[in-house]
Symmetry: C2
Subunit: 219 residues, 2 copies
Amino acid sequence: MAQIKAYVFDAYGTLFDVHSVQYRCEEVFPGHGIQLTTLWRNKQLQYTWLRSLMGRYEDFWTITRDALEYACQTLGLDHRPEQIDPLMEAYLTLSPFPDSAEALDSLVGTPCAILSNGTPAMLRSVVKNAGWEGRFQHILSVDAVKVYKPHPSVYQLAASELGVKAQEIMFVSSNGWDAAGAKTFGFQVCWLHRTTEPVEVLGIQPDRIIKTPLHLKEA
Amino acid sequence: MAQIKAYVFDAYGTLFDVHSVQYRCEEVFPGHGIQLTTLWRNKQLQYTWLRSLMGRYEDFWTITRDALEYACQTLGLDHRPEQIDPLMEAYLTLSPFPDSAEALDSLVGTPCAILSNGTPAMLRSVVKNAGWEGRFQHILSVDAVKVYKPHPSVYQLAASELGVKAQEIMFVSSNGWDAAGAKTFGFQVCWLHRTTEPVEVLGIQPDRIIKTPLHLKEA
């Protein structure tokens, strides 16, 4: 494999714990936290794929809100601004996983970037909330290319902005399908296997599978 | 609205009942029928969208098998050919919904077509199994364009093959996201609302919402 000249991280589920949203959901809708969070997340991803295929891009803030509205309707829950707004705000203050900061420290000296579905404003907010300003060479949003992962234009954005060849980039994602998209594009890929989910059966494998980003530096 | 010159039907979940697969799943994996069917169907759709976005098309038979393998792995179920093959075969003998045949009868005189993610062989098989040979002017598979719904190329295929303008086609699907894709393309669209699911929040609405295809002719 080519020498690694940059690390590119997915944000949601990789550096930041999306399931911290669950606590907020449970507060607003007692007894429905897990179910709402799961539905919301699934629908959010679906909408990124569907809108990309239909050629009807809307940004991730809009899609996230639309998905929440759908999820609330499915469960028969109110979705007036009083309920919706505090849940949306949870996305602006997602906590990093406990191992994220130390993992980033271990990579000092090699450029690091974020490449995410999130809007620039959403990403700035979580990075600031984590106290990580200045930590990344680039914070890249699909909003620049108006199509979502795993479309190759998204991964190309990172290669272009970093000025590094695809095969010299190590892309790190906890989302198996994102890892498959990045590998298809030509990155070296590390699937951060934070859960017990099987490998996606998409005909392509990540180069590495690790349980914590603390192991990124080891290979 | 323009006069309707052709009806184009989605197959799975619209004319044919995908959940008849559930009984077979329950036979092969007692106690896991519903869970396996749901996971399988979700993953099957995911893989159509993901592979379309990645530009790595495989036909629906392959994707359906891959999704089943993933679903079995998730639930810790065996997925050797002894288990997998009978479940895959269920897709070749899906039952039509009880109201499908009468609905098609009610439209005699107007060309009808199927436009489906299924492979030509899968579609031929279910049409034959239903005793519907000769009933459709066209049985169209996305396999001709190597990308899945809701990509506009799929809907264009129907307009081109039927030789009818998009706005003169009434497209009928029970899948809200498919209805959104077809409406985006330019068809008149009827969402066949067989379940209690909310309307997809995708910024576009079907022209009609009906609970049974028997109501197609009424407008």
